[in-house]
């Protein structure tokens, strides 16, 4: 199956890392995709604030272009996704509107293309199991909160099987990739994007709250799936700090970047160098911590195995009588026991320790 891929204007410029990492991730997951030929702007926020027909027609033009290559279209940017989905649902249900839209298009849109957001697409067409089976890098020490923003959970009629107050798609994907996903209450709060330029105050206050809530939840980074949220939280974090008198330094990562890293893509491949608040130290630290924890766990397991083996070698009755002696058995004996246990290919049982 080939899907159409609609990057959108933000991914061409200010969110190039989202575009590059998403393409790499899709390729890694074996998804065949083709960029929508000669796509244009979806109209974004301004179009539907100015005229409904304009918004639907701008979006329908892209649906028409996508229908040339596929029936399904994956759209990483939720703002574009929202516009395309809106047009898709309305136009497919209402032939009158389709005719009205087609009147102002150069060539009519006659197809039935379905738009998917990135988390929805990954869950439906790739699945958590496949992602979990492909994990190469242990990110279990990376504490994150998934931030959905407005457009992945609302409006209810469009986004389908999503709880508008408690969406889970990103949580599930991040958990499958092995991250430490924290629970928080700001998943779907607004970052103030659509009014960011005309009224910066709203954006700064709302984005500041999101960052603060993420820290309160125990997260060290926020995972987003929206170029607009990313600009507001990452690029504008310095402005927020200045405006609110705070001192935040919270890396903001794209979902595609994090999943890519977990599945073995390098930081260069997912373009971590393009994030304004540098996430690389945090990620290096998390990977090191995970490695240290793993080594520690292995050491403990080996020790335990050695003890258990030593006890077994000393005989069950004696072990019961004098456990201290068994533990304090000579190094040689314990080493031999470990080797024997390893040769037997079975981990030592800890049944003896149970009362």
């Amino acid at each position: 199956m080939t899907v159409a891929y609609y990057p959108g204007c933000s991914l061409e410029h200010s969110s190039a890392e989202f575009d590059i990492s998403t393409r790499k991730l899709l390729a890694l997951l074996g998804v065949e995709f083709k960029e929508v030929p000669d796509w244009t702007c979806c109209g974004s926020t301004p179009a539907h604030m100015v005229d409904h027909l304009l918004a639907q027609a701008l979006a329908a033009r892209n649906l028409r272009q996508a229908s040339e290559v596929a029936e399904e279209m994956v759209i990483p940017c939720p703002s574009c996704y929202q516009r395309e989905k809106n047009a898709e649902v309305e136009i497919h249900a209402n032939e009158e509107l389709r005719a009205e839209v087609n009147k102002i298009l150069d060539r009519p849109y006659t197809g039935r293309v379905t738009a998917y957001s990135l988390p929805e697409f990954l869950l439906k067409f790739v699945g958590e199991e496949k992602i979990a089976s492909l994990v190469k890098v242990d990110l279990s020490q990376l504490k994150v909160v998934p931030y959905y923003g407005c457009l992945l959970g609302r409006p209810v009629e469009l986004v389908g099987d999503v709880d508008p107050e408690q969406p889970m798609a990103m949580d599930l994907l991040l958990q499958a990739a092995g991250l430490d996903v924290k629970w928080w209450n700001y998943k779907t709060e607004c970052c103030g994007s659509s009014i960011g330029m005309p009224k910066a105050e709203i954006q700064r206050r709302l984005s500041g709250k999101v960052i603060q809530q993420a820290l309160n939840a125990g997260a060290e980074a926020i995972v987003v799936c929206c170029p607009l949220c990313h600009v507001n939280l990452d690029l504008k974090q310095a402005q927020i700090n200045k405006f609110l008198g705070t001192n935040y330094h919270v890396p903001i990562l794209y979902l595609s970047q994090v999943l890519g890293l977990a599945l073995g893509l390098s930081p260069e491949e997912v373009k971590l160098d393009k994030n304004v608040v540098d996430p690389r130290p945090l990620i290096e630290k998390a990977i090191k911590e995970a490695a240290a924890l793993k080594a520690e766990a292995e050491r403990k397991a080996a020790e335990k195995a050695a003890k258990a083996a030593a006890r077994e070698a000393a005989g069950p009755r004696e072990a019961e009588k004098a456990p201290r002696e068994a533990v304090g058995a000579t190094r040689e004996a314990s080493d031999r026991a470990t080797r024997e246990a390893a040769a037997a290919g079975a981990p030592a049982t800890d049944t003896e320790e149970q009362p």
Partner: protein, 227 residues
């Protein structure tokens, strides 16, 4: 003095029912929309006040309010309304009506929309730097440019800013769509307004208070648009 206007209320109620399938009369003022609204702290009227104003026909005040322009379209109000009213949809639609009626509106939202869509109509896609330049020129407020100047250096060093805009292949079609859609919208609002004025004039000439039946006015407006 504030005057309630039943005709105005009925006219816009019907219009909204037709355009966004949302009935302002369903609102019972629980205030849930306002409680969840992240931007209400900057509004002149809160979302539930807007609903009440629409119910009683204070439509001009709503169309020219700050609240309408500063709505962030996060759709929280619509998701949480216990009466299932698409409040954000109503606000969005009133915004398009204010635009089509070419009203003067507060804040710089109109400037932003014009800068954004003008740029898209010209290039097919959105060259962000060009749009930002258009917007800041449009605001005629140097303070706003200075506030955002700090964004330029990180964007440049991270390679996120392209200074020279490029025209996408579908740009011609996009600019035609833009022109046709806006012309249609403006013509529709003009015809509607003319029809309503004519109906009101007829009603006052007849000396009757109840002649300006909203339904009849809406029908007249509809026929004028299609003709």
């Amino acid at each position: 003095m504030i005057r309630y206007d039943a005709n105005e209320a009925a006219f816009y109620r019907e219009k909204l029912v037709k355009r966004v399938q949302a009935d302002v009369r369903d609102c019972y003022q629980c205030g849930n929309c306002t409680a969840g609204c992240p931007a209400a702290f900057t509004f002149d009227y809160t979302p539930n006040q807007i609903m009440r104003m629409l119910q009683v026909g204070l439509v001009d005040q709503v169309l020219e309010s700050k609240a309408l322009q500063l709505c962030v379209q996060c759709l929280t109000c619509s998701a949480r309304c216990p009466r299932n009213i698409d409040i954000a949809g109503i606000i969005e639609d009133l915004k398009t009506i204010a635009f089509a009626q070419e009203r003067e509106v507060p804040e710089h939202v109109k400037t932003f929309n014009n800068a954004f869509l003008g740029t898209v109509a010209r290039f097919g896609r959105l060259p962000e730097f060009f749009m930002m330049a258009m917007f800041y020129t449009g605001t005629m407020n140097p303070k706003m440019v200075l506030g955002d100047m700090g964004l330029v250096p990180p964007m440049v060093t991270k390679g996120k800013l392209k200074f020279v805009p490029k025209r996408a292949k579908g740009a011609d079609e996009v600019s035609r769509i833009y022109k046709k859609a806006l012309e249609q919208a403006k013509a529709r609002e003009k015809a509607e307004l003319a029809a309503r004025r004519a109906a009101a004039a007829r009603a006052s000439a007849a000396g009757s208070h109840s002649a300006a039946q909203p339904a009849a006015v809406a029908a007249a407006a509809g026929s004028e648009v299609t003709s």
